[in-house]
């Protein structure tokens, strides 16, 4: 996967690249705040910048030095060094979350409007009016996490408690919560599909329907609780995977891999490890067929995730706690029930063809081109046009001329990309080019020497992806 000249993209390197990118994202966000609301954020901005440069970036210096030394000498790190390198990266990730919490004290720029293009595409994947017609909104959060909030029910419940008004008029709005520092990163918008999945699940009471099947009882007797919550999470993951394929898995790995308890389930969520394994088997049996690059990238990412879990198991006391059954029903069979329900709702699906197209689009991204549409290969256009002219001149049968004409026209049409294809292309580009670039760039004498360049890359790739999503809507108008 890596074309890096100095690194191999093993676990420490992958984590270094992820963490460095995470800090640079905070940095880019500060740039945006500075541009839009400066000078009112002057002093806090300076404090943030100092923290980033003197604490967070600097914490990568020793992990980098050791990892680079190990690669160059072709000698593995000793176990204590390996342990400290991975620990330090986990700790810096927590530091990023800590700094992120304080971003609420800065004035917040608006979320980019391209998010709503993706939201529309996700909504359109649901034939049911109740999903596609709902309004959407995006809130930004100081927590470095992604979510969906029942704003309507929350307000309704507050008003009911205060005995003011019940029920609240109007439709539920789909409100997505994104962390400040990732709001401009289209690759992380995939998580929106999971969050819309929660909305869909509530709308159709899917969780209860499935649990009723598991327990063989009527829907109104389904108990609330952890099992229901877990099923709801698995449904939302299944929606994310259906609509965005491997890109959804990559985002999920990106936000979880640095944590210390990957095997531990909570009262509301199955363990991250279980969710990644479920996602992996789902992808293998669906869209990965016929997409060789995505298949190999997915394998690499899954292997890195499993390696991190083994590290956690060895050093952080992590374990895969339970979570393999729901009311004695194997998770795999619950996932099958989920698939069946989603199939019945006729929800759109990312196809293998789309993923193969994303692989071609990634090549264009690497050249710095937007990927709003796939340009067909235009072979022998001149000779075909001349042949039509000759056919017209010799009064050839009209059906033959029409066939030749449409052949030329089809080859001229640029088929618009979907947001899902664009985001998958973005991930392929990230893993094949951006991460190795980071690792090579960090081989510079100091980390600070490379920060500016990487921030330029972040902005350039974000802009390419966002422009692609916006322009794809225009392409559709001309179809």
């Amino acid at each position: 996967m890596s074309v890096s000249t100095t690194f191999n993209l093993n676990l420490p390197e992958f984590l270094i690249a992820e963490v460095f990118d995470g800090i640079a994202r905070l940095d880019c966000y500060l740039d945006e705040v500075e541009l839009t609301v400066h000078p009112r954020s002057g002093i806090p901005l300076r404090l943030f910048r100092d923290t980033l440069h003197s604490v967070l970036y600097q914490s990568l210096e020793e992990p980098l030095r050791l990892t680079r030394q190990s690669t160059l000498k072709k000698a593995p790190l000793n176990p204590s060094e390996f342990q400290a390198v991975v620990n330090q990266l986990g700790s810096t990730f927590i530091g990023i979350s800590g700094v992120h919490r304080f971003l609420k004290y800065l004035r917040v720029p608006e979320p980019p409007h391209e998010i709503f293009t993706l939201l529309k595409e996700i909504q359109r994947a649901f034939p049911e009016d109740g999903i596609s017609a709902n309004e959407t909104d995006v809130l930004l959060s100081e927590t470095l996490n992604y979510g969906e909030i029942d704003l309507h029910s929350a307000i309704e419940s507050q008003l009911q408690q205060a005995k003011i008004l019940t029920p609240v008029p109007g439709r539920e709005t789909i409100v997505i919560i994104l962390p400040y520092a990732q709001v401009n990163n289209p690759l992380m918008w995939t998580i929106i599909a999971h969050e819309v999945g929660h909305f869909v699940e509530k709308f159709h009471s899917l969780g209860k329907k499935i649990l009723a099947k598991v327990l063989a009882c009527p829907i109104d007797q389904v108990p609330e609780g952890t099992e229901l919550d877990w099923i709801e999470e698995l449904i939302s993951d299944a929606v994310g995977l259906r609509l965005l394929g491997p890109a959804y898995l990559y985002s999920f790995v990106s936000i979880t891999i640095l944590q210390s308890a990957l095997g531990k389930s909570s009262v509301t969520h199955p363990s991250d490890l279980l969710r990644v394994r479920m996602a992996s088997s789902e992808l293998k049996s669906t869209c990965l067929t016929g997409a060789p690059t995505s298949t190999s990238l997915t394998k690499v990412i899954l292997d890195l995730f499993e390696q991190k879990f083994s590290f956690n198991e060895k050093y952080l006391g992590d374990k895969l706690f339970g979570g393999s059954t729901i009311h004695s029903h194997p998770i795999e069979s619950v996932v099958e029930l989920i698939t069946q329900e989603l199939d019945d709702l006729k929800i759109g699906k990312l196809s293998s063809e789309s993923l193969a197209k994303a692989e071609t689009l990634a090549l264009a991204l690497a050249k710095g081109q937007p990927v709003s549409a796939l340009r067909q290969e235009r072979k022998d256009l001149q000779s075909k046009a001349e042949a039509i002219q000759t056919s017209l001149a010799t009064s050839a049968p009209i059906d033959d001329i029409r066939k030749d004409f449409f052949e030329i026209r089809d080859c001229m049409v640029e088929k618009p990309s979907t947001c899902a294809e664009i985001i998958n292309a973005g991930y392929i580009h990230r893993y094949q080019n951006v991460l190795p670039q980071i690792l090579d760039g960090l081989a510079a004498p100091t980390i600070a020497d490379y920060v500016g360049e990487h921030k330029k890359t972040i902005n350039q790739v974000d802009r390419l992806l966002k422009v692609s999503m916006q322009v794809t809507e225009i392409h559709k108008l001309f179809l």
């Binding site: 060094e81 400290a84 927590i94 800590g98 006391g317």
Partner: protein
């Protein structure tokens, strides 16, 4: 309600503190690694110094832990911080006996021993062969401490993200 329980209500404090202590422990490992590679510069000394400071925090916390606890407001801030660190560690050791390479009982002894190794490495004159033999063990100790603090910080982070109305990913 114990001091620790009071502070668990506002977990942010310990999450950040544990993250900071993890960095100290990891940096001690990196310092030793530089030392073993013959890099004995200011940076190496700075990293080793952080390991030494961590030992002081732990030993002070252990002392306070053994004494009858006075009201929190009567404890100076640095002592309170050490005490809390030790309180959280003791709970962690109780819950994770199987996964930790040493016990709470020998933590203090271990801390004293490894602190003395670091002190010797920080001396201007070259340490004796005896100390050099102990360096790997010292590095392992700080690597293990780093893992413990990372995990404690991470657990705090997860708790902070709980919400009734929001479905997090």
């Amino acid at each position: 309600m114990s001091i620790k329980e009071q502070l668990k209500e506002t977990l942010g404090h310990m999450t950040d503190k544990n993250q900071e202590l993890a960095v100290f422990a990891n940096n001690a490992v990196f310092g030793i690694s530089r030392y073993k590679n013959g890099i004995n510069d200011e940076k190496t000394r700075g990293l080793l110094q952080q390991g030494e400071e961590l030992c002081t925090v732990l030993r002070r916390g252990a002392d306070m832990f053994r004494k009858p606890q006075p009201e929190p407001y009567s404890i100076v801030k640095s002592d309170l911080s050490s005490l809390l660190t030790f309180e959280f560690l003791s709970e962690f050791f109780k819950e994770n006996e199987q996964n930790v390479p040493f016990s709470l009982d020998n933590l203090v002894q271990k801390t004293t021993e490894e602190q003395s190794v670091l002190e010797k490495l920080l001396l201007p004159e070259r340490p004796t062969e005896d100390i050099n033999k102990r360096v790997d063990e010292c590095q392992n100790f700080f690597a293990s401490l780093g893992s413990i603090f990372v995990r404690l910080a991470n657990d705090g982070l997860r708790q902070r993200e709980k919400s009734e109305r929001i479905h997090y990913v």
